[in-house]
Symmetry: C2
Subunit: 190 residues, 2 copies
DNA sequence: TCAATAAAAGACAATGTGTCCAATTGCTCA
DNA sequence: TGAGCAATTGGACACATTGTCTTTTATTGA
């Protein structure tokens, strides 16, 4: 079905607002951005904003939706353990402006939590699948996931914060060097 | 020198405000707390607040100062690698109300950064000392530190979030199980 | 008791929020 | 093309919060 004109109009408005938010986040960080400045920057009426989103947080999350779907769309099912790592570093490089806004300049707790949850789901699935059924690992799966995800996010943030001084492949190598030995020791086959 | 009465009065007021902030942070998280609710809870005049602190953030940081000094006062120099771990889990247990306010309910980026920096200093010192001089580790020290600290904080946060279901000793064991194998593999002696 | 200091009370201008409505624009389809 | 509809606008609204001031009220040490 062809998108109706209204759809296009709405889509454009929403995009304007999302872009404005990203712009402003890059400049001053999420917390400091107000709805007022967003609509000013986007050249959109204040009421229009509230016609589309509940509040600033809602707008941010709609952006995250986009990111999430873009990511899963581009995520080539890489084989092996921690498959998400390299594709995500690549995706972060390709969209570093977006990632910087979100991860670095402090999307604040809001964004960090979303990222945490998204990646945790991936890791959880991977590790659970590789766990011999019935086996009880010496460290609860939940904590292993937490450990892996927080390490990955820390690395990603550092990388973006330092203007990506390495290639994604190198970051992936570093991540694995930091994480894999422990995983192996805890019972996940090499 | 005996504290003058004025001093005591001031001290009491500041403590009332700090405690009120912690209370409220536990209830709704840092972001949601307003100066107004703080002074209401503390039964302190609004102007008095501004006589003592610049703003909410300033009050929060004054609390962190306290925490930091308390920590270094109680930190018994434990031997071995990652010596900070067990004492800090213990300290967190002994002061869980304080830790919960700060770490869990989201002191927001502010607190997290402060904690990150504090612990990173400890870890950095430890690891650098154990590094064979002249050796170039396969992963830069900076990143190893990042990895260790973010993992530790994630564990600590999880523990507090779940009402400390294990003893500090068990948490220390889990932390080491997650981190040590990789450190060993990267050249830090077992 | 008195002078000094701390705190309280409350007014103030700014700024932001979220809601509402009336008027306008732009698009589609008949 | 033009009627009708949906999206958008602009602005007013009530409300909350911030940070600054000034004036009054206590507390306390000398």
């Amino acid at each position: 079905m062809a998108p109706k004109a209204e759809d296009r109009r709405v889509k454009r408005t929403r995009k304007l607002l999302r872009d404005a938010l990203l712009d402003l986040m890059l400049e001053k960080g999420y917390e400091a951005v107000t709805v007022q400045t967003i609509v000013d920057r986007a050249n959109v009426g204040r009421s229009t904003f509230y016609a589309h989103f509940l509040d600033k947080r809602d707008l941010l999350e709609s952006g995250h939706e986009q990111l999430r779907s873009a990511l899963s769309r581009e995520q080539p099912a890489a084989p092996g353990l921690l498959a998400f790592s390299l594709p995500m570093f690549r995706h972060a490089q390709a969209n570093h402006r977006l990632y910087r806004s979100l991860v670095v300049k402090g999307g604040g707790a809001a964004v960090t939590e979303m990222a945490q949850r998204t990646i945790a789901d991936l890791v959880q699935g991977e590790l659970a699948a590789l766990l011999p059924p019935g086996a009880t690992p010496p460290v609860p799966l939940e904590l292993v996931v937490l450990h892996v995800v927080s390490s990955f996010l820390a690395l990603l943030q550092w990388w973006l914060d330092h203007n990506m001084p390495h290639q994604p492949e190198e970051m992936d190598r570093l991540f694995r060097a930091l994480v894999m030995p422990s995983l192996t020791a805890l019972g996940w086959a090499p």
